[in-house]
Symmetry: C2
Subunit: 492 residues, 2 copies
């Protein structure tokens, strides 16, 4: 598409200055407006090396209040970032509600470069494109404005600019090998960029081309387009969006009411088996670490179902340097003001590490649904969003294991009462637990729907029958051991 | 995507009947709601032959008030339709605001079939996909709800159904050769369908898969998804949408103020030249007719600029069986309640014919813009929408010529005064003309913007300097003759 694009005419200097002054003023006004309407704005700047993105951005933000924006120059991933899914470094930097984030360079640069340099295959590249489309769509659907700019200059222009930059000792550091490679292979790059732009030119995050021959003119184009996009987005704050159908392969799950809970295990068997499984897990953890395989274990379940004790037995088998437990409470203000999956993205383990989540992103379709913390459109959409999130983790190479810790209502009552009556356990029981208990039936409907809609082949749910906590612990350990064995010793 | 899709579980008979009863009731209620909010709803049903689309649709509409919906079975294009752009038969049937249209079969069926049967090349197929994406996006952007269903059955199921249908004399007409071909080449079809679904699964018109093993269950899935989509769309009625950047190659146009208007032509030269050009045009018209090339000539210009007389001289050269002049006034109610390009789509010529439009779709960015008949978001978007429309005509094979008939303000005043003072010309001048004249400057801004943004290489604007009407007429004829010569006797 950019190949066919013909630039519009640059206005004369006087007009340009006038319009630029006005545009800067208008953009500054938009700060207050997006703050009031709590609109998060992610501005993505891509384009050719030496096209002047940096200097446009530098000028642009002079007008903005530094409390309301952040800029990131996204050239190379750090070692820490490389050990996470490729979208991690971008997701972790998305704006809060009511603020701007400017990305100088983005996922486009990263994936097209890898493809051009043959670091990733065509197949992997296509997969990345799919991930990117999903990521941008999820941002939009969750209320983000995503505006993407591509800074365009011709091959000769780029060549001249690189030459000039290199001549000067103060600027030669700005030219890297990649810029020169790009200029040398301009046509090939153009071909790939053009296809990329076409494949990601979505309604929910369209591309805008910026004629970058002149710095001021580029700034004007970008500022005017950004203002236009903001004004439209402001009018659409809070609009519901279409709910996409799940197309991931699902694993059939029973209804909670069909789950038998009378399994037990004898004390002696428990101790022996626990010991055996923990030893095995410990060995597997070592292997994982060396093979750099990340593992994500998610716990959900009824209050007093025994999640804590279960996690403890699992963690006991692990080397503390290689795992982390994340207890998930209500989101903090800075978490609440971002995409609901953000606080989980930022807690992802490094490769080779294990992350155990005590309560998870499934809060969206349970407590947030039932308490009205999000709209119906939000939680209806969340099943697919969560499946997409987990698919991303799977594609990264993660083993994903999700436990629903199941007990019956009577068992819960007995445990609540016991907690209430035992001084050293009293901290474990709150009024909220009792209130939640009253909503048991509503929760059961939500949990059933969740299990049906999010148990995918790549991230299945396992039910831990936990009326007998010992039984549940052994089952958890066994499930984890099996899943890891499978991943380590069999073909994927 | 459909390859991976796993159906959700069909509820038991009792539950199914209950939910179906409720869903039918709810859908019936939506009729009134979409009528009130003036939401047009286009429901597209695609899928395998014998998947039961027809019978689901038949049952579904039993509940609806026939005044508020239309159904179309879109199997084969008629001879009349084949002589128009491939989207013509679909565009011409889009719903009015506040009404349903159900398509049994759609553009998907047509283009995938042509591709599978190798009637069109991969390249043509890709172009069709692009057209379809644009078409669906334009509908969405102009306030349409577009919901697409794909009715899925397996190869064996289809085979059995076709066998059963053929056995019975009352139903054997429902099986055609295509159904049987499809069943025989099920895997190949599946591959193409899957890619098609993926390529057209846009946010603005998502696909929903319907497990079609059981008629009632299929109806329930479709009805529930349709209700959900309607409810979301109702909340978004009137929302502005992002404005896409033009990416078509533009031809540089002068500003109106830069156009010199002092050209004249002597009477004798006029007569001779007119005669010569008309004769040439007449010959070319014949050739066009035989080569089935459609021609679209669009006239816009100031009041009293001389459009009428200009068109008359052009038309005089043409065989009346091969052309039509469309004077365009304000839209009728049934036109106003559809996409603003609809009334032009439905007036497209057959191939080999010439359509002359006296005023055009450019009303959107002139009178509708200035009089506030559409929102700013609407007319801002229209430049790209119109370029896309004309690209569609160009891809169909049309020659597109657009004239702006230009005069200066003094000349208009002189002609207005003359009309006012000449009894037989008085009908030609109205109060509205005088009102429009007062807005000359605003119009000039709009016209300049229009000329800059919509003069594409495939559908350029030509300015006819019409202070001397004779000069303008000759220039119009010459422009048309040149364009047709070029199309007929040179490589495209």
């Amino acid at each position: 598409m950019i190949k066919e694009w013909v630039k519009s005419k640059k206005p004369d200097e006087e007009q340009l200055n006038q319009r630029l002054e006005e545009a800067r003023l208008q953009l500054a006004k938009r700060q207050q407006m997006i703050k009031e309407k709590k609109l998060p704005v992610l501005v993505v700047m891509d384009g050719w090396g030496a096209a002047g993105k940096g200097s446009v951005l530098g000028r642009m933000i002079k007008n903005l209040d530094p409390r309301f924006f952040k800029t990131f120059t996204l050239t190379k991933a750090s070692e820490e970032e490389k050990r996470r899914p490729f979208l991690y470094r971008y997701v972790s930097k998305i704006p809060e509600a009511g603020k701007f984030v400017f990305f100088d360079g983005s996922w486009m640069d990263e994936v097209t470069r890898q493809y051009l340099k043959e670091v990733i295959s065509k197949e992997e590249y296509e997969k990345r494109l799919e991930s990117i489309r999903r990521f941008e769509r999820q941002l939009h659907d969750n209320g983000y404005l995503v505006v993407k700019f591509f800074f365009q200059i011709g091959q000769e222009e780029q060549k001249q600019r690189l030459k000039l930059l290199k001549k000067d000792k103060n600027t030669d550091w700005r030219v890297d090998k990649w810029d020169e490679w790009q200029n040398k292979h301009y046509d090939r790059c153009m071909e790939i960029y053009d296809k990329y732009l076409d494949a990601t030119n979505q309604f929910i995050a369209p591309w805008y081309f910026v004629d970058s021959k002149n710095r001021k003119w580029a700034e004007l184009q970008m500022t005017e387009l950004l203002i236009q996009s903001i004004d439209i987005a402001l009018q659409n704050v809070g609009s519901p969006v279409p709910i996409l159908q799940n197309t991931f392969p699902l694993v059939k799950m029973p209804l909670l009411s069909e789950v038998s809970l009378d399994q037990t295990v004898a004390d002696e068997e428990y101790r022996q088996e626990l010991d055996k499984l923990q030893k095995r897990l410990s060995q597997l953890h070592n292997e994982l670490y060396h093979k750099k395989i990340p593992v994500i274990i998610a716990y959900e379940g009824w209050d007093a179902a025994g999640k804590g004790g279960n996690i403890k037995r699992l963690a006991a088998a692990l080397d503390p340097r290689g795992y982390e437990v994340h207890p998930i409470a209500s989101p903090e203000p800075h978490e609440k003001s971002r995409h609901y999956l953000w606080r989980f993205w930022t807690r992802l383990p490094k490769d080779g590490h294990i992350a155990i989540f005590d309560r998870t992103w499934y809060g969206r379709v349970m407590v947030e649904r039932l308490e009205g913390f999000c709209s119906e459109n939000d939680w209806q959409r969340a099943y697919t969003e969560i499946n997409e999130f987990e698919k991303e983790l799977y594609d990264w190479g993660a083993v994903i294991i999700k436990f629903w810790v199941q007990i019956d209502k009577d068992t819960q009552l007995a445990r609540f009462t016991d907690r209430q009556n035992t001084p050293e356990k009293q901290w474990k029981i709150t009024d909220e637990d009792w209130r939640n208990r009253e909503k048991w039936d509503q929760y059961e409907v939500a949990v059933n729907e969740m299990l049906q809609k999010t148990s995918t082949e790549f991230a299945p749910w396992y039910i831990l029958e936990s009326n007998d906590k010992h039984y549940a612990r052994l089952k958890a350990l066994r499930t984890v051991v099996d899943a890891l064995e499978k991943r380590l010793h069999q073909k994927k």
